[in-house]
């Protein structure tokens, strides 16, 4: 099955970053499997997926740090195949920041400009502007060891941006920061990227990071591109079971499809055409209603027994045993509900548009 996903909203000619059949092989192992992607100029794209899915390898291939086994990388119309890293016009932000410990903040940031032979006056101006951009004015003479994690991260960002690269590549830059700093930096990076209008690729394993920051998200799994789309698209219209389960929370029910429908807990549920055999039925936990619901549209309804009640504060979660499988249901707490006890019988229902059905491995 080929991975022919393209970025929505752009003909091939509009794409600033183009990956065509990008592949990386280590012996028999396919780390990246024929990835195709078109990214328009000025967009911030996330490469999202679990560890080992190939997102970092793909980024490294774009940067030229890892040579590709097959495929082409095109940036701004130029084919970068075979071009060594130091001749590609990219800004790289590493997970560990990789600030040169023997150079001051100033010289770190100015390093890329030095390599490009920028004249002294312009050099000083651009470094000063970059330092101001990341709110580190006054710290120019310090060494990386004297900076906090968040400050080091900003120096890394400034260093990558000051050279005005064609593309900004970030490899999980926020993983080493604490939660609060992470949120702060998320917004800052997004603001700067938008302001400069720079095309950027952001690798992360954190789906909330990808959803909140980026114009488009590329979901990867086992080296393959599962789906590309805007955050809402991925959330509401996942195209594979993996994407459905990875982006947001899902309750998953195993069933078997036969002749266009499946039977589950006494209910007959329709199944998309073409699916036969084992299937995954997935529903968002907060879109399952508890108790009989009176509504215009026909709803699927099943009965089960409460297995577990979990009070999470904002949310009340019920794990319900339905025909031997566990269905999680989430309700927003209102403060006046009476908690259902384990063992209590309950009926669950959901609208036909809230359910996703995918073929499953046998």
């Amino acid at each position: 099955m080929s991975n022919q996903e393209s970025g929505a909203g752009g003909k091939s000619g509009d794409a600033f970053l183009s990956l065509r059949g990008l592949t990386k092989r280590y012996g028999d192992f396919l780390a990246v499997d024929h990835m195709n992607l078109e990214v328009p100029k000025g967009e911030l794209v996330a490469f999202l997926g679990p560890s080992g899915c190939g997102k970092t390898t793909s980024l490294r291939m774009i940067a030229g740090l890892t040579p590709q086994s097959e495929g082409r990388i095109i940036v701004g119309g130029d084919d970068l195949t075979g071009v060594p890293t130091y001749k590609r016009d990219m800004g790289l932000v590493f997970q560990s920041y990789a600030l040169f410990p023997h150079m001051s903040v100033e010289r770190n940031i100015g390093f890329g400009l030095e390599m490009r032979g920028i004249a002294r006056d312009e050099f000083a101006n651009r470094v000063r502007d970059a330092v101001a951009l990341v709110h580190l004015t006054g710290m120019e003479k310090r060494r990386p060891a004297q900076l906090s994690g968040g400050q080091q991260q900003r120096v890394a960002l400034a260093r990558a941006l000051v050279i005005r690269p064609a593309i900004l590549l970030l490899d999980e830059p926020l993983s080493n920061l604490d939660a609060k700093l992470r949120d702060e930096m998320r917004n800052e990076i997004r603001d700067i990227q938008k302001r400069l209008g720079i095309t950027a690729v952001f690798v992360t394993h954190d789906q909330s990071e990808a959803l909140t920051m980026c114009d488009k998200v590329v979901v990867m799994n086992h080296g393959r591109l599962e789906q590309v789309g805007a955050p809402t698209e991925l959330y509401e219209q996942p195209r594979t079971a993996f994407v459905a389960g990875f982006v947001g929370r899902m309750s998953r029910i195993r069933a078997v499809a036969r002749n266009g429908s499946t039977a589950f807990a006494g209910q007959r549920l329709p199944v998309p055409a073409g699916l036969d055999g084992p299937i995954d039925i997935m529903i968002r936990p907060h879109r399952i209603a508890i108790g009989p619901v009176v509504s215009e549209e026909t709803r699927h309804q099943v009965t089960g027994t409460i297995l577990r009640t979990v009070f999470v504060g904002d949310i009340l979660q019920y794990d319900v045993d339905v025909a031997g499988q566990i269905v999680s249901v989430e309700l927003s707490t209102r403060g006046n509900e009476s908690l259902l006890k384990p063992g209590a019988p309950v009926s669950l229902s959901w609208g036909p548009r809230d359910v996703y059905v995918f073929g499953a491995a046998p």
């Binding site: 280590y26 012996g27 780390a31 970092t56 040579p67 086994s69 590493f94 997970q95």
Partner: protein, 288 residues
């Protein structure tokens, strides 16, 4: 960035660069080590005729001489037995220091460690000279003995002097090897044994000693091998009167100019090395 597997497919492109970068050291190694050593083997199959001259004809005469002449048999036996004695003595002297260091900690330990390693950084000539000052007729020990009325003892320019000197000189190596092998020795194990009723002597015999056996084996191998091939100390402390393999090699090479014999003796040292290593590996495998 998270670690990625080695980029194996880069190699065909980078090979010329690798070769260029490795060429100098490979050349030094080949011309200064491999070729000379192989040539040594080759040389042992020649025979020296008279003084200095040598016929480059393949012959077993030299090897025959080395294996049948009683002088060489005595030489080899002497070297091995003396080295074994030195190894045992070094072990006995080093063990207390190694154990003490292992049990100490902090700044004191670092200072002592430096004192143990420091002799290694000084020339063998310096240390041997120190022993001459201590052992010779008008030296430290003899003058002290004379002062108390005991007569002077001859302990230099003989095997005794060589043994004493070499034992001390090899101690740092033994101490470091022992300490490396002491890894498994934990105070808590000894405490457990004591709580079960074992006296300190018994704890040592049944717990400490067995656990430190790997270190003892390694140190002994190292020490033996160094003793057998040691030259400076036997030559200076032996005063030309103690005949060991290393001193004989030097004499044959520089004085007698009998390179085939010198080469054969060198190969013999290497064979002794190999045998010792083999025995060590066998003992190690038998233990595990």
């Amino acid at each position: 960035m998270t670690a990625t597997p080695a980029d194996g497919d880069d190699q065909p492109r980078r090979l010329p660069l690798v070769v260029v970068l490795l060429l100098p050291i490979a050349l030094v190694n080949a011309l200064g080590f491999v070729v000379p050593t192989l040539n040594l083997l080759r040389m042992s199959f020649f025979e020296a005729q008279g003084t200095g001259a040598m016929q480059e004809v393949f012959t077993l005469a030299t090897w025959q001489k080395v294996f049948t002449d009683s002088f060489y048999a005595e030489l080899i036996l002497n070297s091995i037995s003396t080295s074994l004695l030195i190894t045992v003595l070094t072990l006995l002297c080093s063990y207390p220091i190694a154990l003490y260091l292992h049990r100490s900690s902090g700044l004191w330990r670092s200072v002592l460690l430096v004192l143990v390693i420091a002799p290694l950084l000084t020339s063998a000539v310096v240390r041997t000279y120190g022993w001459i000052v201590i052992l010779f007729e008008n030296g430290l020990i003899n003058n002290a003995l004379a002062a108390v009325g005991i007569g002077r003892v001859r302990m230099i320019f003989n095997k005794t002097g060589v043994t004493i000197g070499l034992t001390e000189i090899l101690m740092p190596y033994m101490i470091l090897a022992l300490m490396a092998g002491f890894g498994k020795l934990d105070a808590r194990i000894e405490e457990a044994a004591a709580s079960l009723g074992a006296s300190p002597m018994r704890v040592f015999r049944h717990i400490v000693l067995p656990l430190t056996l790997p270190g003892i084996a390694l140190g002994s191998l190292l020490c033996f091998v160094l003793a057998v091939s040691s030259f400076i100390t036997p030559k200076l402390l032996g005063g030309g009167r103690v005949f060991l393999l290393a001193t004989e090699i030097y004499d044959q090479a520089i004085v007698t100019l009998n390179w085939p014999v010198a080469s054969a003796l060198s190969i013999l040292i290497l064979l002794i090395f190999g045998t010792a290593l083999l025995l060590y590996t066998r003992a190690l495998n038998a233990a595990t």
